[in-house]
């Protein structure tokens, strides 16, 4: 397996372009959260020609709706949500300078085209590894849309947040290549 790469945010296009599908990466620095409802508002602002509540240039958005923080913890369980629900909104954010997305599962062709055109990268975090991931989050702060509760935009400070590059800025897609590599390899005798 590929060695683990460490990256520090902000994520520049140069660094993003150097990452390859299948790379295991540990992210440190600041990342932002956003799910369906927050994305809808961000894109509505852009359509109205207004400023976003956060400068997304060279930033990473993590698709997550964390559980409430128990006493003494920085955050509750915080694993990734399915990314395809953000596909409608992601291309315009990538055009505006977003360089990284963390989630789980497939992305549509429009997102991948935008990633290729603007050197952005899509990281997969392990769905259901919510407590392991929460341990890499040092602090959280709501910076916009507090009324959305768990779906508000949070600013997270992370250290060694574990991800795998699922789709790189050249369009290499581990969801496709990985699946193809192991298709029909089960060797089950009872088929």
């Amino acid at each position: 397996m590929a060695e683990v790469k460490r990256i520090q945010t902000p994520l520049t296009k140069d660094v993003a372009a150097g990452l390859r599908a299948g790379d295991r990466v540990l992210i440190s620095g600041i990342i932002y959260t956003g799910r369906d409802a927050a994305h809808k508002r961000l894109v509505a602002l852009l359509e109205e020609g207004k400023e976003l509540p956060v400068d997304i240039r060279n930033q990473i958005i993590y698709y997550v709706g964390p559980a409430p923080a128990p006493p003494g913890k920085a955050i509750g369980s915080a694993g990734p949500t399915s990314s395809y629900r953000m596909d409608r909104y992601a291309p315009v954010l990538i055009e505006k300078g977003l360089t990284g997305m963390i989630g789980k599962g497939l992305r549509g062709p429009a997102v991948i085209e935008a990633m290729k055109a603007h050197q952005a990268v899509y990281f997969a975090a392990t769905g259901g590894a919510a407590v392991v991931i929460a341990q890499s989050i040092i602090s959280q702060e709501i910076i916009a849309y507090e009324d959305l509760g768990t779906e508000a935009i949070h600013r997270l400070e992370v250290k060694d947040f574990p991800v795998i590059v699922a789709i790189d800025s050249q369009g290499n897609n581990l969801y496709e290549t990985g699946r193809k590599e192991y298709q029909g390899k089960g060797n089950h005798s009872n088929i």
Binding site: A130, Y182, I191
Partner: protein, 285 residues
Amino acid sequence: MVKFMREIKAALITEKVKELFLKISYEIGDDVLCSLKEGKDKEISPIGKAILEEIIENDTLAAKERMAVCQDTGMAVVFAEVGQEVHITGGDFQEAINQGVREAYGQGYLRKSVVSDPLFERKNTQDNTPAVIYTDIVAGGGIKLAATAKGFGSENMSRLKMLTPADGQQGVLDFIVETVSLAGPNPCPPLVVGVCVGGTMDKAAQLAKKATMRHLGFSNPDPRYQALEEKALALINETGIGPGGLGGLTTGLAVHIDWYPTHIAGLPVAVNICCHAVRHDTVEI
């Protein structure tokens, strides 16, 4: 046969429901952990193996830290069997269950994921209620509550089809494998796949959900259905989807198929997909 009416306080039902949801949210069952470990030992994809290790570490840590196994603590689903000799006192049965859900999610630092009107307002109800509650009145003087906290990453990948009787076993098998294949990485594999064949459209969906709640390692007692479960699991594990959908052999942990009598003209099949965080338990009062 119970001769006398048995009184059960609504507050006791609330307490039991609360305990159930706290337990299943923090502690993944030994059946699931064993199955994940078996998968890890057999996995030939290095990334797949690493992901299974991460999931096992996560589930162990969640129980130790009393944190939710997954941040999607799900929509609460309860299958209740209420004995006909039972008299519930001091409150309403459904409200007693919802109050248990409310207390578990509120006091247990579990995420509130339920919205009221699904189409127009989508306003969070702030306490994860209402639960989805199925109640059967049965013989006896007790109450049995089976609970699951159903995450929607996998729920969204579930499907139902009204097959024709001529489609037969092969049709059922094809539909199960097609559903898993289309879902790909989205429902957080490795999966537990709940299937119901027969009934009406709604009955099939309901029993497919219940099938996801079967303890892992237990097959359908009918050897013909057991063979179908094994075949479906083997085919699912040939798709290559693997842990996290990044390639590998461990796409499914189990396929549970149940059935219900159906109409001469029909062969409904419902496939309810559940992720590896298959949170289920039962309590008897």
